[in-house]
């Protein structure tokens, strides 16, 4: 006997629409539940991908070569000597579309006539930053840093406003050289940048690598070589680790170390690993709420048709046949709900939220976690499959209860039942 014999399917389908209002209500519950699962997971995934992208853009890169001591004590003592030469050597190991950026990044103080503030001074090669970090993007105000500009400085718009400065103003930057002596130099603000995070805007100032090296009397040195992979999926595991191993082989004996972004940003890597489990828990929670409604509706439908089940039994249908009919009914309910919900969530994610969800009103709070102001939801096949799978499997499991109930009716019992 086939499970889906035409008669059972037909009976179940008609039963479903005997009480259209009840069916519609429970369908709504299923649809809303599944939409919430899919859209929320797309939202969460979008948030996560934004977070990864932000963090990598935030002067991290996919792979970073540093003196291992620099991560403990970010001082000029823990620098990379002859950074250009090393960068060139490493470049040979990597595919052509990989970008390398050499930076000298140290703590310092930015002084104006009214205020002093602690900043991170980053010496960059402006041309190398394009497409690698946020400073390579177009500026908010002013002109970009020219390669030969020894006195130019880029500042975050947030810091510019906080210090009451304007483009073209002079500031004094101070940092410590290798002997611990303070060295200061006057710079002019050429432009201001906007970053995803306000905190970044207030923290980083950018000058030409060469002029920073001159200021500290440390020619040719840098503190990091950042490597950006072109591959869009580079935040997945695998590729990055391969390159890291190859680079580390080459760096052997130089006292330098290459690290992948998963090691550089352990909190974010852990969050990504946690995300799937987190979503599954969310799906189950939504389902529990939905499942009780489903069980209750089907149970009501079953009690309503009690005498009908009695008749079917009296005509010779076995209890397994009754279970089958009820389960097919439940399955129909779930499949219709899923189809509608998938369409709706696809529409929501691809059309309604296509230009992102602006979280500006929660700005300050979410930025603490490194989340962008605008989140672009990302639909992932695995999330959709997981949401639908959870609903079908658990839905059938829940449907089993009223089905078993119906199967227990005997013709005599149902006759007495009015």
């Amino acid at each position: 006997m086939r499970f889906f014999d035409l008669l059972s399917v037909q009976i179940s389908w008609r039963n479903l629409w005997r009480n259209p209002r009840r069916t519609t209500i429970i369908l709504t519950a299923i649809v809303v539940g599944i939409i919430s699962m899919i859209v929320l997971s797309a939202f969460g995934r979008g948030m996560m991908e934004g977070m990864v992208k932000n963090s990598i853009d935030n002067l991290v890169g996919h792979i970073k070569i540093q003196n291992p001591q620099y991560r403990i004590d970010p001082a000029i003592d823990n620098r990379i000597d002859q950074a250009e030469k090393i960068a060139a050597q490493i470049g040979e190991l990597l595919p052509d579309d990989v970008q390398l950026a050499t930076r000298l990044r140290l703590d310092g103080v930015l002084s104006t006539s009214r205020e002093h503030t602690g900043v991170m001074i980053v010496g960059i090669d402006p041309a190398a930053e394009k497409g690698v970090s946020f400073i390579g993007r177009p500026l908010y105000q002013g002109t970009p840093l020219q390669p030969e500009d020894a006195r130019g400085l880029l500042i975050g718009q947030g810091l510019l406003e906080r210090l009451g400065l304007e483009i073209g103003k002079k500031v004094v930057v101070l940092s410590q050289d290798a002997s611990g002596e303070g060295r200061s130099k006057a710079f002019r603000i050429r432009g201001s940048y906007r970053a995803e995070m306000r905190d970044t805007e207030k923290r980083y100032i950018f000058i030409n690598l060469k002029s920073f090296q001159d200021m500290l009397a440390a020619p040719g040195s840098a503190t990091e070589i950042s490597i950006s992979l072109r591959n869009a999926n580079a935040y997945q595991t695998g590729t990055v680790e391969d390159y890291v191993d190859r680079i580390n082989e080459r760096l052997d004996g130089l006292g330098l170390e290459a690290t992948g972004w998963r090691q550089l940003l352990p909190a974010i890597a852990a969050y990504i690993d946690m995300f799937d489990v987190y979503m599954l828990i969310w799906f189950v929670v939504v389902f529990v709420a939905m499942g009780f409604g489903l069980a209750n509706t089907v149970l009501m439908a079953v009690y309503e048709r009690m005498r009908e089940f009695g008749l079917q039994r009296a005509l010779g249908l076995r209890s397994s046949g009754i279970i089958k009919n009820v389960m097919i009914e439940v399955l129909f309910l779930l499949l219709i709900g899923m189809a509608l919900a998938d369409l709706c969530s696809f529409f929501l994610v691809k059309v309604v939220f296509r230009s992102g969800i602006d979280l500006g009103s929660f700005g300050a709070g979410i930025e603490m976690w490194g989340i962008s102001r605008i989140v672009y939801p990302v639909l992932s096949l695995s999330d959709i499959v997981m949401a639908n799978g959870v609903v079908v499997l658990l839905g059938l499991l829940v449907g089993l209860y009223p089905a078993l109930h119906a199967a227990r009716f005997t013709p005599i019992e149902t006759m007495r039942h009015l």
Partner: protein, 253 residues
């Protein structure tokens, strides 16, 4: 007698450098004023009053200076802060706290912070010489006040100089007493000013008794130094300006 000699020297400078070398004259004036201010060496006891809208506190300090670069200061009162010291050598500074018995070298990032909570910054103490090299000086005004000629020197920061000020305006009397120092930002807006009042004679030298540093944009906030004892050109051994001496307690007596 000496004052007349000095005055005539300045007048001579002014006459001899009529138009084009006005800068040289102003530079000498500033240099002499700063040298006069510090003396070759000095010993002083002074009170420092830090005034804020909601509180005011007064400390009594004792200090020695030698040449342009060395200085040693201690807090005598209030008892809570007694023994806190600062040592300045060249452009470096150390701070000593007797409670933890540690002398801490101020990192460069701390140099722009305020000195002992006052309106003076560590840089004001450690780097004041920078005015000689980092600015272009010109005398912009001469006037007679109480029988003395007073020069107003405008010092404009050099383009590349690592200084935050746009310009400073110094008022110097013909006997090289610095009467006021004003700090302007790049838009030539006044940010803070130091004024000297109450000229009295300390061990044979006319010197302002009261110095006030105030920020212009903040009302009711200033720091006032008042000298009680001030001796100039005394013998001080170089070893006074060492870390060991900063930690020694006998200077407090």
């Amino acid at each position: 007698m000496r004052r007349i000699a000095v005055a005539s020297f300045v007048v001579f400078l002014m006459l001899s450098s009529k138009s084009q070398a006005a800068d040289g004259e102003a530079l000498v004036l500033v240099q002499k004023a700063f040298d006069y201010w510090r003396g070759l060496s000095s010993y002083s006891e002074f009170s420092m009053t830090i005034h804020r809208p909601d509180f005011e506190r007064t400390m009594i300090l004792r200090g020695w200076t030698k040449g342009r670069s060395d200085g040693l200061f201690y807090v005598l009162q209030p008892p809570k802060d007694m023994g806190n010291g600062s040592l300045k050598k060249g452009r470096q500074m150390w701070s000593y706290n007797p409670k933890i018995n540690r002398a801490i070298k101020l990192p460069p990032s701390m140099m722009s912070q305020s000195w002992m909570g006052s309106d003076f910054s560590n840089d004001d103490l450690a780097k004041s010489d920078s005015i000689l090299d980092d600015y272009d000086h010109a005398v912009v005004e001469r006037e007679m006040v109480d029988g003395h000629q007073v020069f107003t020197v405008e010092s404009i920061a050099k383009e590349d100089a690592p200084v935050v000020w746009g310009k400073q305006i110094l008022r110097v009397r013909d006997d090289f007493i610095l009467l006021s120092e004003q700090f302007f930002d790049e838009d030539m807006e006044l940010v803070k000013e130091m004024t000297a009042e109450d000229l009295v004679e300390f061990s044979g030298r006319i010197f302002p008794k009261i110095w006030t540093m105030r920020r212009v944009d903040e009302r009711d906030r200033f720091t006032r130094l008042e000298y009680h004892i001030l001796e100039f050109d005394i013998d001080i051994e170089d070893r006074l300006f060492t870390l060991a001496s900063l930690k020694s307690k006998k200077r407090l007596q």
